[in-house]
């Protein structure tokens, strides 16, 4: 990035080739729309290029890059919430950070859903159902393999808050993915539903 700052455009090409795939995948998992993810990724690269003169190597380049990407994704998700949400906006609002959005079809007949869709799609939808900040934390932790300090910088929170956020996110995923990670879960769910 320092070479890009110095006006070396070939170094920008190097960054583009190196980070395009992780960036597009991260954004795709955040916004769940390929075209939007690619548009956002382009915007992120453009913002990196525009900000090259002001770049100060106080943190890792990836931290800076994913901070820009996360902000872009969160803005996009919030702007398009009305179109993207799969549950009614009239439904009671739940604590954004403590509980995942409900996926009604999955919760009621999750076993049937598993038959209709493949596991990967099921997992992707479970990730997408997480509140945005939990989702970003999980994606950066699991797929980008960032350390806690880096993720905390990207999400602008403390290390302790991040660990708590990650725990809640994985706990939500554990519940969402219960049919995959806990074979006895559907039976328990049925038991709870019966009077």
């Amino acid at each position: 990035m320092l070479d890009v700052k110095g006006g070396d455009n070939s170094s920008f090409d190097f960054l583009l080739v190196k980070y395009r795939s992780p960036l597009v995948n991260f954004l795709y998992r955040m916004v769940r729309d390929r075209a939007t993810a690619e548009d956002l990724a382009q915007d992120v690269f453009l913002r990196v290029y525009r900000a090259r003169k002001q770049y100060i190597p106080s943190a890792k380049f990836t931290t800076w890059l994913f901070r820009i990407a996360t902000n872009a994704a969160l803005n996009s998700v919030r702007d398009n919430r009305h179109q993207k949400m799969e549950v009614s906006l009239d439904a009671p609002v739940r604590d954004e950070e403590s509980a995942p959005r409900e996926l009604p079809a999955r919760e009621t007949r999750i076993d049937e859903h598993l038959l209709e869709r493949d596991r990967a799609e099921f997992i992707q939808r479970a990730i997408a159902s997480l509140p945005e900040k939990q989702r970003a934390a999980v994606l950066l932790h699991k797929y980008e393999e960032m350390d806690y300090a880096e993720i905390a910088k990207v999400l602008d929170c403390t290390d302790a808050a991040l660990k708590s956020l990650l725990f809640r996110a994985y706990e939500n995923l554990r519940i969402q993915l219960a049919p995959l990670v806990n074979p006895s879960a559907p039976a328990r769910a049925e038991e709870r539903r019966s009077p």
């Binding site: 455009n9 920008f12 090409d13 583009l16 080739v17 395009r20 795939s21 597009v24 995948n25 795709y28 998992r29 390929r34 690619e38 990724a41 382009q42 690269f45 453009l46 290029y49 525009r50 596991r119 990967a120 997992i123 992707q124 990730i127 932790h141 699991k142 797929y143 350390d147 806690y148 302790a160 660990k163 708590s164 990650l166 725990f167 994985y170 995923l173 554990r174 993915l177 995959l180 990670v181 806990n182």
Partner: protein, 165 residues
């Protein structure tokens, strides 16, 4: 180590980033607590399941579009070095305007000369006389001579009057 403490540190433990002493304490707790052990195991399964999510490739024209947008960015040419930044240019213009305004502003200071009157003009007109060295040097002598010449005349005229009375 208890269940609540483990909740805070479970991710660190599963990541393998826990210090040795804490790791041993955690493992000891997990051996004795079926709930935490089950949760830790299910977290591991969640992580394994997440590996099944496919990786997508950016579309064929992605790089080209980014490069195109970057190329369309207004770049600074070699003469850009001479072009001042907007803030600097604004400051300079403001400074010049302020200087011009102060210079043209009518002064309210009584010590400075005001508009010239006719009396001042006459005084200045006679300045040449005062600057004449000969006139100035003889001024004192003249002031002494005038009463000396006039007094006897007046006295000579008064004395006969008094004497006549």
């Amino acid at each position: 180590m208890n269940c609540e403490k483990l909740t805070q540190e479970l991710i660190t433990y599963l990541d393998g980033r826990m210090h040795e002493v804490e790791r041993r304490e955690t493992e000891e707790h997990l051996r004795g607590c079926a709930t935490c052990r089950e949760r830790a195991e299910q977290f591991r399964r969640v992580w394994t399941a997440m590996d099944e999510v496919p990786v997508i490739d950016p579309s064929f024209g992605f790089d080209a579009r980014v490069r195109q947008r970057v190329a369309a960015e207004p770049g600074r040419n070699w003469f850009g070095w001479f072009v001042p930044q907007a803030r600097l240019a604004f400051s300079a213009v403001l400074l010049i305007a302020l200087t011009v305004w102060i210079a043209k502003r009518p002064s309210g200071n009584p010590g400075t000369p005001g508009p010239m009157t006719e009396q001042d003009f006459n005084a200045i007109k006679d300045l040449g006389v005062l600057e004449n060295y000969d006139v100035v040097t003889k001024m004192d002598a003249l002031s002494e001579l005038v009463p000396a010449v006039d007094q006897p005349t007046q006295n000579s005229e008064a004395e006969p009057t008094q004497s006549n009375d």
